[in-house]
């Protein structure tokens, strides 16, 4: 929701980033305020997932220019774990499996680590068990998932639910969901979306990185951005997603190209 008295959570200016020496992000601008839901769409290879990982602090990506402020602080001064504790959360496109570690153990460890850093109370295993079971109801997850190893043998939908469960536990200010909808059937999509919607409030914000408009029927965005070649080239409301679904992305790129040429011509005149 777009609010009158919202605060700026994330401010990205002229962000450039490379991986293995190849520039993927080429001057990206992006602003998120509290209470808002943003969708970033765009063709494969446009840099959507790279952007999500750069925000979370993945070391494979090198930031070469630009700035990112999170609640007014320079995000790049924080290590990945510090970003998580400060309230940045990335739901992974491909969550990692950790055989040998029970999901309950992992969830409690991350929860207590973040709680301790925020000066809040940690929970012992019994207290945590009650707490996490409540959160699991939100995602219609069976308690069996607590005893299984982290993500091991989970279906695609179960992994994504487990990601949103972590989001529910860590209560981030800024949640970035990287292709959380891909590979989900309609039922799982409905459940995951319901969970995300329940977690949204006036103080936090959600960024959905997706290929498909379908997700946006369930999580309605305030803004839809089109990413192309490492930059956001168009921003609109939720109706833009529907237009993208029917017309594809080429027209946006063409329009952007034409606008740049006009600007260039105007500048020359």
């Amino acid at each position: 929701m777009i609010l009158q008295d919202s605060k700026t959570l994330l401010e990205v200016r002229g962000l450039r980033a490379t991986v293995n020496g190849i520039e993927i992000l080429k001057g990206l601008d992006f602003t998120v305020k509290s209470g808002e839901v943003h969708a970033i769409m765009g063709p494969n290879g446009s840099g959507k997932s790279t952007f999500a990982k750069v925000l979370a602090g993945h070391t494979a990506y090198e930031v070469t220019a630009g700035s990112v402020l999170f609640e007014g602080k320079n995000l790049f001064e924080l290590a990945p774990e510090e970003r998580a504790r400060a309230g940045v959360f990335l739901a992974f496109q491909y969550p990692i499996e950790i055989p040998g570690v029970a999901n309950s153990q992992f969830l409690r460890l991350t929860y207590n680590t973040v709680q301790a850093q925020r000066g809040k109370e940690e929970l012992d295993p019994l207290e945590f068990d009650d707490f996490v079971r409540e959160k699991m109801k939100l995602l219609e997850m069976s308690p069996d998932f607590l005893d299984r190893s982290v993500n091991e043998g989970f279906s695609g939908g179960e992994k994504k639910r487990n990601e949103i469960l972590q989001m529910a536990l860590l209560e981030p200010r800024l949640a970035i969901l990287d292709e959380t909808d891909s590979g989900l059937d309609i039922d799982a999509l409905r459940i995951v979306s319901h969970g995300v919607n329940q977690l949204a409030n006036k103080d936090n914000a959600t960024v959905l990185v997706t290929h498909y408009q379908r997700l946006l029927n369930y999580i309605v965005p305030d803004f839809v951005h089109v990413m192309e070649a490492g930059r956001i080239i168009k921003t609109g409301g939720k109706e833009l997603a529907l237009e993208l679904e029917t017309r594809g992305y080429d027209w946006v790129a063409a329009e952007h190209q034409a606008a740049s040429e006009t600007r260039a011509a105007g500048g020359a005149a």
């Binding site: 990945p80 950790i98 040998g100 680590t113």
Partner: protein
């Protein structure tokens, strides 16, 4: 100019020394046992200790073993139950304890015919030799081939006592059986021997456990354990075999285990190597039609330890299933060796086999040699194998850090998990918990 090459057997003297006290063994009342021993002694005339030039030993140098002299324990170290109670496994209601290779009845809790209606035997060899002569003669020394294996021959030459488990037809033993081998004396060679016979349709869980008892003022000293285990599964039997080697850090541990699976039987094994300066475990599993096995292992070693595991899973008949996950976590300048052969013989159609060797090196000096080996002589089979060696996966570390965990906590957790995946497969809760704790302690780094 001509070169004269003298044929020398530098280790022959070593074997003779080891065998010096063999004639003092009491003669068995059963002629076939005496014959078995004599045959083993004869083979030791021909066999030599392996060197790095032997293909099967090319990564494992046992020359240090030959530089030390070992002899069998002359007398038993007297231990009170309280001394070793911390080794006990609470789920195990029967337990056989051997101290420096000698059976310790006062510490054991055996079961043999008479004190139970089920007919289950958990006892030492002399006690049940008469009552179960047929079952024992049919299997003891018949599965673990010693004719070409110097260590198995050495063990067989000293065959006198053994842990014997016989589970009668269709009996399912709920509680695990604990076979506890305790080393207490330096410069002692012990030759533990186990025989497990799971008759048709029976179920049993066996924990084979090698430990060191630190006497007061015990400094880490060398001892030598040379074990042989034979496990027989008759048709439809199921055996869970857990093997834990946690000997002292200067010990030499060499073991041969031969498992024979009958039709549609199921063998599940988890072996964990933690101790010993040099350890070598040979596991041979032979599958009959429709038999299934899972053969998993973990070597968790540090400092200058060497842990070598050689396995051979032999699909001799059709429709067999085998699963193997072997992991090594290598710290310090330790060296892990894995050689896993999967044999699919001609006619063993519809064999389904998956083998994986995964290795984690914690330092730049840690070393792993791994060699998965498939030998397939049938044409309708499903076999997969693979090996990985490396450091922790950076994507996994990032995942955990993105959830707020510090770099050191993330790395510790992943290293622990790497080992815990094997420990989790142990079907005995207290042991699983205890070993999980061991893995946790050994893999935790302070930031």
């Amino acid at each position: 100019m001509s070169t004269v090459t003298s044929i020398r057997r530098p280790t022959a003297g070593y074997l003779e020394t080891l065998l010096a006290c063999q004639p003092q063994l009491p003669t068995s009342p059963l002629a076939w046992i005496n014959a078995l021993r004599a045959e083993a002694v004869n083979r030791l005339d021909v066999l030599t200790l392996p060197t790095l030039r032997d293909e099967e030993w090319r990564f494992t140098d046992i020359s240090q073993l030959t530089k030390l002299s070992f002899s069998p324990a002359l007398g038993a170290t007297y231990l009170e139950a309280a001394d070793i109670a911390h080794f006990y496994i609470e789920e195990a209601t029967t337990r056989l304890v051997f101290v420096d290779g000698l059976y310790a009845p006062q510490l054991s809790s055996a079961a043999s015919c008479g004190n139970g209606d089920s007919g289950v035997v958990v006892s030492n060899l002399p006690t049940v030799l008469a009552s179960h002569a047929a079952a024992i003669e049919a299997h003891l020394g018949r599965h673990a081939a010693f004719r070409d294996n110097v260590f198995a021959a050495l063990n067989t030459a000293f065959l006198h006592d053994a842990a014997v488990i016989v589970v009668p037809r269709d009996v399912a033993l709920a509680a695990p059986v604990h076979l506890l081998f305790i080393a207490t004396q330096k410069e002692v060679v012990s030759t533990p021997r186990c025989l497990v016979v799971a008759e048709s349709g029976s179920v049993v869980t066996v924990i084979e456990d090698y430990v060191v008892f630190y006497q007061p003022r015990w400094q880490e000293e060398a001892h030598f354990t040379n074990a042989v285990t034979e496990i027989v599964l008759e048709d439809n039997a199921r055996v869970n075999h857990i093997r834990i080697q946690r000997e002292g850090s200067k010990a030499f541990h060499i073991a041969n285990c031969a498992v024979s699976l009958g039709r549609a039987s199921n063998y599940q094994s988890v072996s964990v190597s933690l101790g010993a300066r040099i350890s070598r475990y040979n596991l041979d599993v032979l599958l009959a039609e429709g038999a299934e096995c899972a053969v998993d292992g973990l070597a968790l070693i540090a400092a200058n330890q060497l842990a070598d595991t050689h396995t051979c899973i032999d699909h001799a008949q059709p429709h067999g299933v085998s699963r193997q996950l072997h992991k090594c976590i290598v710290d310090g300048s330790a060296h892990a060796v894995f050689n896993g052969k999967i044999m699919v013989r001609q006619g063993a159609q519809r064999t389904d086999s998956v083998q994986s060797s995964r290795n984690l090196l914690l330092t730049g000096k840690a070393h792993v040699d791994t060699k998965p080996q498939l030998e397939i002589f049938a044409d309708d089979v499903k076999c997969a194998h693979g090996a990985t060696i490396g450091q922790l996966d950076s994507e996994e570390v990032f995942y955990l850090k993105s959830r707020g965990l510090s770099d050191s906590v993330a790395r510790n957790l992943l290293t622990y998990a790497f080992g815990a995946e094997i420990i989790e497969r142990i079907p005995v809760a207290s042991l699983r918990q205890r070993l999980g704790q061991t893995v946790l302690v050994q893999t935790t780094r302070q930031p």
